[in-house]
Each structure stands twice: as structure tokens, then as C-alpha cells.
Symmetry: C2
Subunit: 465 residues, 2 copies
């Protein structure tokens, strides 16, 4: 822990800045492959080039020439890794351009924006500044929030390994071994470690297959807890005895040992993230790879839908919510974005937003009920394709030109995005298929994008007026 | 932090156990390559086989048949990685046998020893038990202790990059860049990050070359702090201005930024290890690769000597010591062992201990003054050679038979160990050279060793009477 003195000093400074509306903590998250690193890289890039090269017509402060620029400042949190903006830009400027390495865990970057306020009057002309703290963190960490509302017994009942056929396959080997384990037996640390590793292996394989709902999230990025008992638990798949009987088992039993580790995970791993980071974010954007899930088929699409439902619980902190009971979060604005919009033709972008809205229907209801302003949009943080038209007989069809990861220039029509949650007929047609594109070589200083300006406007535009 | 309730409950249980002399926390440390993993693996192995296969004649409880065995229990600290005993044994039992992977950071393993007390009387025959918590942690962490006694200005004056020719070479590139940096200039985060990376690179190369005195120690194993500003500082090599002037520089200056990070490192990285782990160890053993340093030449031998002097400060906590000011450590017994004794012929083992004693002369004085019982010995945790004799003319010379890492069976005479600190004449003769051996294939259940029993007796023997 920082010395109290330092912490107080920093907090006070932060409070003063925020009191004058001159500081904003903005967090970017998303499930794996959603494009967090690309988004944050592009965000920094657009703001740094806002005065000159960047095309930000949907951001009034930039369009009107009032956004004067952005410079990097030293970040306030010395224990949080810096967001690797320079290495990311280097990758994008390589020949051929490469996607930046994904970040792991949380990272941070501080910008100072200079702008001229829109209001005329005696202050007109004087430049103001906004300190923007940017964070990125894995959305998987939010999937652990529901764990805080359960005890070990309840978690076992949710059977997280048992949703869908592909997922069951991935966990089959672990399941057979775990079923043979007697909850009342004396816990053997080596056996539990082995089974926990098999469970973690199942999570890793599920992730490779494109599944999103993966609990406990830290099993995928253990960091310094690698090999520690806190990450060596798993659900017991067949609890035939009543809860009271299980909870009366001695401390050294399998059940009690796993339950203790589950509690430790709640308190030492899940809660600290919310306490030390989440509750301090003012605004957040959640990135969703809707198109990737459409590509991957019905089981993974449903999985994404469930995962988003759980993830969004972190944001719908109504009066009776779990988070509200832990502490008071203060997010006052939220964006949810379907990324990689450049992977479908422009005529499909509306459908993409509609689909995202359907996918998030229930969580959005809760958010609106909790009076958290939220906006859904589609974007491409770093644009990789250009729209074209091709003649087919007498009709002209929209298409995309881009370069695949393997370096092949292609002209494709990736398919229609359904405007509502896809039904069996959609999956039977299998009408949707897009290749992965690589970034385009740099032409101007600013990265090409689709609707990054709309996202920026929603997230910080009101602070630049 | 664990909930207070859990912590108190655990601490109370621990206290009760220790009150009855039935619990002991024993830590193993040593600078890189000293053989921590081999030692801890062998220690667990010997205790587990104490009743049967292990040869432990120097441990009275084992020799007299009173040590009945050891079993593994669940470790109490859920957030500390388990010591990977099984993978280590697997490596040693491979065909051909391999050395186990080195551990990183701290790890832990709990054993329960069962023994019959030596005292006769009405309790005779009843078995007692001792709970033994074993830890291993990098000795490099202890090299950071002296940092707690310095401020940033003082640390810069120590010029840790400037000791010896080879070391200067390693840091030359960094030094040139750092010298060009104006302490009063506005800090540029990217420039500081780059220079810090160059400094860390210097530390890594020095480590590869066999240097031991490497500060700050966490730069070598950053873990989750990789890329965080707390690990992005370095000494400023030429502070020509007086201290007062430097300390009056604004917060955003290079000097103030680096000094802030240095303080954060002291408080958030160095102190927590002492507070959360070190002060809770009852006994420790420090492993030293004296032979490796003899092999590597005078500059690295002197470096080892300096590093040991700094490392031992953690143990000599007299009334006015730095640690005593932070909290009360409670180590009541210390062992210092020259490892890899099987790499020299048995007639040299006495010299090895004498040399170790000379190397540690000053620290040992402090320890004796502070009334910390300490024993120096030589050992091989996992024996890799057998002594042989070879005829040379009419004399019989001692030699060693072993298998090199490359798999070649060799018969070697590695040279004489000097009984005192080696002088220029010794280094000129370059009389010392040993190959690295690989472990022997298993014959019985217990690992072959040299004087592990003497080490075990000193570290826990008195608890088994």
C-alpha cells in the first residue's frame, strides 16, 4: 500500500482536478479479441493528431478547430503498467503493417488535451485543458463479478462447464476426474492442483475456440499467482448431499478446502480490482466482437450473449446491486461498441448496431432503469478495408477491398448482418464469413477509422465544450 | 488483504502451534544459480524418506530411528505459489535425469513430520509432530534491503553500475545516454522508460555474466509490474548540483520523477516482502555458489563477496539495525552453505568452508554480535559425482567421476580450493575449473547428497528431540 500521506495527497489532487471538470478517467474493456489494444491505440492517435491530420468530423470540438492537441503526461499510478502506445504504433508502421501485441492485465496512459471552450464571452480565446487518464483492462475480469454474489455451493450449482456441446467436450476429461472426487475425503493438495490445472486447461481451450464466458477469469492470466492454491479450485460437479452436511465437513476435506480457496479468490482477487480500479473510472467503453461471434456459429454466439449479460452487471449498479453494496461506483456514461465494422460493407452497419442492441436488450434495460446514460454504436478503431462496388449481371453489389493477414489483396462480400438475433434459418444458411484483414500501410499521421469520432464525442465531447 | 477475521484466525492458530514448539517456518534463499530448487527438493525428499531409504547419519532423530516420516499438508498461505516438488522430482527421474526448472519469486510447501521424542519417561513411545513450512525466495530480493536505508540522492552516489571493468562495459551504453539527461529538465515518460529499459538490460546482462550484486532486484523479475513506472527509474550518474537544489526541483522534473519512483519502489516493492514474508520466517539457510564464483574469475568473485555483505544485512538485526526499526524479525537460527560440494574432491571440503567463512568474515562478526546463532557448512543437495583416485606416477591423486550436462562420462580433478580469499597469484595460476554435471540416475528412493543431514540437523534437529 502506498503511504497514507502520498495516497491522500494524490487523491486530493485528483479530486480538485475533477471538481473543476478537468480530469476524466476513461476505461476501455472488452472480451478477448474484441480489439481493446487497437481501440486505445487509435484513440490516443486521433487525439494527438486532432488539430491536423485526424478526420474527426463527428467530434464537434475537432470539427470546429477548437481541439488544439494532446500531449502525454506522466501517469499518476506508479504500480500500473503503461499502455504500450509506442510499440503499438511501431507495429502498425512496420512493413508490412502488423497488429500490435495484445495487452495483458490492466494498463494506463495519461493525456493532456488542450482545447478552446465553445462558449464565447470574456474568457473566449483562452485555452482550457482536460487531463484524460486512459485505462485498458480485460473484460474477463468483469465476468468474475457474479462470483461475488455466490458462495462456493451456489457456484457449483451453476455448472459453468456444462453449457453447450462444444464446451462439454472441452471439459470432458476434467469432468470424469472431478466426478470421482469425494467431497468428504481428506484433501490431497497434489490431486487438487492437478484437477485445477485440468480445469484451467479446459478454460484455455474454450478461449481458443472463441468462447467468452470463462470463469474464474484469472485462471487465464494467473500472473504472479501461478501455482498458488488460490487459483487451485474448481466446481464440484455432483453435490448430492445437502448444503448443511457439506458445510459441516472438516476444514481438511475436499469440499471445505475448495470452498476456502473460492472465498480467498473472491476477497483477494476479484474485490481488489473493483476497489482499486473499477470504482475510480468515470466512463467506460465496452468493445464487443459481434462479427467474430457470427462467424463462429450459434453455440459461441449464445455464449457471447450470456457473457455480455454477466459482464454488464458490473455497470447496472442500481440501488440494490451487488456493486452498490461493496462501494459506490461512479460511472456516469457508458458506450458499447461493435468493433471491426470495416469487416462488413457500409450498408450493414445499421444492422450491426441493431443486432448489438438486441444482444444487450436485457442489460440495457437495467442500465436505463439505473439511469446510466449508455450509447450503442459500431466502429472500426483502425480501418483495414475500403468499400467497393462490383457488377453482378445488371446489379451493383457492395464489396470490400483489403489485404488478408497472409498478405493477399482480396475483394470480398462478407455477407449480411442479421438485424435481430439470428435464428436457426440464419445459421443453416451460414451466410456470414469474413477473412481477417491486416492494417493498411500508413498514409497520413492519423490512423484511418470508422466512427472513432462518434465514440470519442460520446465519451469526452461534453468535457470539451 | 485477507479479511481481518481470517487473518486473525490463522495467525492465532499459527501462534498456538509455535507456542507448543510444533511449528517452524524455514526459508531457503541464495543468489541465482546457488541451487535453491535443488536444495529444497532434496530437503523434502530426505525428510519424506527419512524412515527408510534416506542416509541421514548426521541427523540424530533419523539415525536413531525416531524420525518416522513426513507427509505433505495443505499450505496455509493461499496466495503464495506452491513449491513445485513433483515436477522437480519428475525432472530428476527423467532419462537422462535433468535439473529441475528454477523457481521464480517466492514459493511454499508444508510438511508434517512425525517423530518419537528422545526423552524417556511416561510419554515415551507417543509420537509427536512438527509442522514445517518451507519457503524459497530469491536472494536478489535481500539485495534491495540497503535501498531502504538510502534516499534517491544517496543511491545515485553509490554508482552501482560502476564497480569493475566488466560491469562498466555492460552499462556503457546506458551510461552514455543517462549522462546526457538533465536532472532539471521536464521528465518525458517515454525517454525515462527507454533509459530504464536500458538499465534493466544492463542488469540482465550482468546477471548472465555471473554477477550477483544487482540492484534493484525486481528489475530482473518484474512479474505483473512489467512496464509500470515503479520499475522505470535508474540512478542519475552525474549529480553535480547540491542535494538541496535538486530536491527543490519541480515534481515534473527528471530528478523529482525518478526520486518519486524510487520511494514508491521502497514502499511498495521492497518493504512488503519484509513485512509479509521475511519477518515471519523462524530460520533461514543462505546458499552460496562459492565454486561458481571461483570458476568465473576475480571480478565476479569480489562481486559475490560484496553482494553477500549486503545480503547478510537482512540477518544481522542488532538493536540499531534497519530491520529492527521496520519491525521485529525473529530468525533464531541461520545456516550458510557453500553448495555444489560434489564439484570438488572430498579433501577440499574443509577449505571450502574456510573460504566461505573468510568471504563472510565481516557479516559473521555482526551476526555473532547480534547473537544470531549461525553455522557455515558445505554440502551438495543432490550429489552428481563420486570420488575416485587416479595414479599419477607413484602418487595417487583424488579425482571425481561424473557425467557432464552434455552426457559425457568424465574423470576430472577440478583443482584446489584456496583456504583463504584468493590472491592475485591464485587468479594467475587459474588453477580452478570444473565442468557442470548432471544428476545421477535414481538408485534408491532418496536423492544422494553430501551433508544435507548436517544442514537439516542444524535447521530443525533441536525440534525433534
Amino acid at each position: 500500500m502506498a503511504a497514507l500521506h502520498d495516497t491522500l495527497g494524490r487523491e486530493l489532487g485528483n479530486l480538485l482536478e475533477r471538481g473543476r471538470d478537468r480530469q476524466l478517467r476513461l476505461a476501455v474493456t472488452g472480451l478477448s479479441q474484441a480489439g481493446k489494444t487497437a481501440f486505445l491505440t487509435s484513440l490516443v492517435n486521433q487525439l494527438r493528431h486532432a488539430g491536423v491530420e485526424a478526420r474527426l468530423d463527428l467530434l464537434p470540438a475537432a470539427r470546429d478547430g477548437r481541439l488544439l492537441g494532446a500531449r502525454r503526461l506522466n501517469q499518476p499510478d506508479l504500480g500500473v503498467p503503461r499502455f504500450p502506445y509506442d510499440p503499438a504504433m511501431q507495429a502498425l508502421r512496420d512493413t508490412p503493417p502488423r497488429w500490435p501485441d495484445p495487452t495483458r492485465g490492466i494498463s494506463e496512459l495519461r493525456l493532456e488535451l488542450r482545447y478552446r471552450p465553445a462558449r464565447s464571452g470574456w474568457l473566449r480565446g483562452a485555452a482550457s485543458h482536460l487531463t484524460l487518464d486512459l485505462f485498458d483492462y480485460p473484460g474477463e475480469w468483469l465476468l468474475d463479478l457474479p462470483l461475488l454474489d455466490q458462495d462456493y455451493y451456489q457456484w457449483c450449482q451453476t455448472r459453468p462447464f456444462d453449457q453447450g456441446e462444444q464446451r462439454r467436450e472441452v471439459f470432458a476429461e476434467w469432468l470424469a476426474a472431478a466426478e470421482a472426487l469425494d467431497p468428504a475425503a481428506e484433501a490431497d493438495e497434489a490431486v487438487l492442483a492437478e484437477l485445477a490445472e485440468a480445469y484451467a486447461q479446459g478454460l484455455r481451450r474454450a478461449k481458443q475456440l472463441g468462447f467468452s464466458q470463462l470463469q474464474p477469469g484469472r485462471f487465464l492470466l494467473p500472473g504472479e499467482l501461478e501455482g498458488a492454491p488460490v487459483l487451485q479450485f474448481f466446481p464440484l460437479p455432483h453435490l448430492s448431499k445437502p448444503r448443511e452436511e457439506l458445510e459441516a465437513l472438516p476444514d481438511s476435506s475436499v469440499y471445505a478446502t475448495l470452498a476456502t480457496r473460492f472465498r480467498y479468490y473472491q476477497k483477494q482477487v476479484v474485490q481488489p480490482f473493483y476497489r482499486e480500479h473499477f470504482r475510480r473510472f468515470d466512463r467506460q467503453i465496452v468493445l464487443v466482437d459481434v462479427l467474430g461471434a457470427l462467424n463462429a456459429g450459434p453455440e459461441r454466439f449464445e455464449d457471447l450473449s450470456r457473457a455480455l449479460g454477466e459482464l454488464m452487471q458490473s455497470f447496472s449498479y442500481g440501488k440494490r446491486s451487488l456493486l452498490r453494496r461493496l462501494f459506490t461506483p461512479r460511472i456516469d456514461r457508458l458506450a458499447i461498441a461493435a468493433t471491426k465494422a470495416d469487416h462488413v460493407t457500409p450498408d450493414q452497419h445499421d444492422n450491426l448496431v441493431t443486432l448489438l442492441n438486441s444482444l444487450l436488450k436485457e442489460p440495457l434495460k437495467d442500465l436505463r432503469f439505473a439511469d446510466v446514460p449508455v450509447k450503442a454504436l459500431s466502429l472500426a478503431a483502425i480501418r483495414t478495408t475500403w468499400p467497393r462496388e462490383v457488377n453482378q449481371g445488371k446489379t451493383r453489389l457492395p464489396a470490400l477491398r483489403g489485404t488478408t493477414l497472409e498478405g493477399e489483396d482480396v475483394l470480398v462480400y462478407p455477407g449480411d448482418v442479421p438485424a435481430a438475433l439470428p435464428d436457426a434459418a440464419f445459421w443453416q444458411r451460414q451466410g456470414f464469413d469474413f477473412p481477417r484483414f491486416r492494417p493498411m500501410p500508413e498514409v497520413s499521421g492519423a490512423l484511418p477509422h470508422i466512427r472513432m469520432d462518434a465514440a470519442i464525442d460520446w465519451l469526452i465531447g461534453d468535457k470539451l465544450t
